[in-house]
């Protein structure tokens, strides 16, 4: 004999669905309109950072598939290697200009503290990813940088498990762990921007769409 399931007891899938739909209402996550104050070039640099990140990940994926001998010796390998480097340059330039704009706009206003914090963590994670990228070039640059960095890393006591002189470990951090962390934190950052809305300019708070 089977026991009938009470309709009063929510299943875990139902609970998760309800919580998600409360936390991420579809009209806020995928809006088709934005407040008028978003019509400014300074609001463009967040999405430019995201676009550069897509190129960084795609070119990095091709480099990982080709391997170091390919990117050092073939013309196409040199091109993809340069594409990876320059997309990283654009990524960081746009991210820092985005940071300047948001800092002078006090973008943590209106209960957006967590949005600001996830942006800070994304920035720091990106720096760590870029650093391990320099160590994964398999050239004399990488050797020199790791030789210089080891003392700094040892001075903070983490050299035994984050060994910058170990290229295999640095490559794993660079192409698996840190990109995964950076992507997840960037996704959370974007969801929070969608959830709380784009921050209005200082003194323009009354034009913000209530949520």
């Amino acid at each position: 004999m089977t026991t009938p399931v009470s309709s009063q007891v929510a299943t875990w899938t139902e609970t998760v669905k309800n919580r998600l739909s409360r936390a991420l209402p579809p009209d806020q996550i995928l809006p088709d309109r934005q407040p008028a104050y978003v019509s400014s070039w300074i609001y463009v640099f967040g999405v430019l950072t995201l676009a550069a990140l897509v190129v960084v990940m795609a070119s990095g994926g091709v480099l990982a598939a080709g391997g170091s001998s390919w990117w050092h010796t073939s013309g196409l390998g040199h091109f993809v290697n340069s594409l990876h480097l320059w997309s990283v340059e654009v990524f960081f330039a746009c991210m820092v200009i985005h940071l300047w704009g948001k800092f002078w706009m006090a973008a943590w206003r209106g209960r957006r503290g967590l949005t600001w914090l996830t942006g800070v963590i994304a920035f720091v994670t990106s720096i760590a990813t870029a650093f391990t990228g320099y160590l994964s070039q398999t050239n004399f640059d990488a050797q020199w940088i790791s030789g210089e960095a080891k003392d700094g890393i040892n001075s903070i006591g983490v050299g035994s498990w984050f060994n910058v002189l170990n290229p295999g470990q640095m490559l794993t951090w660079h192409i698996v762990l840190l990109p995964l962390a950076a992507t997840l934190i960037a996704a959370l950052h974007i969801l929070l921007v969608r959830r709380h809305g784009v921050v209005p300019p200082l003194g323009d708070e009354e034009r913000e769409v209530p949520r």
């Binding site: 088709d32 978003v38 070039w41 463009v44 640099f45 820092v96 300047w100 704009g101």
Partner: protein, 64 residues
Amino acid sequence: MDNVFAAGRYLSWGVVSISVANVVIVLVMLVVFALALLLPFPSDRDRTPAAGGGPAPADEGREP
């Protein structure tokens, strides 16, 4: 052609040492930041001048 493997030029000021290339990049970023604040953003009205209708109210929003 210049030797691309030659050491870069550096500016030094006390304990601060920075390559000329990095100084140029920082200056360009500052210029882009200033332009982003000063240049007008194209509006729907600029893109479709013959579409009819007057200027949209400022708070009506726009298509992203």
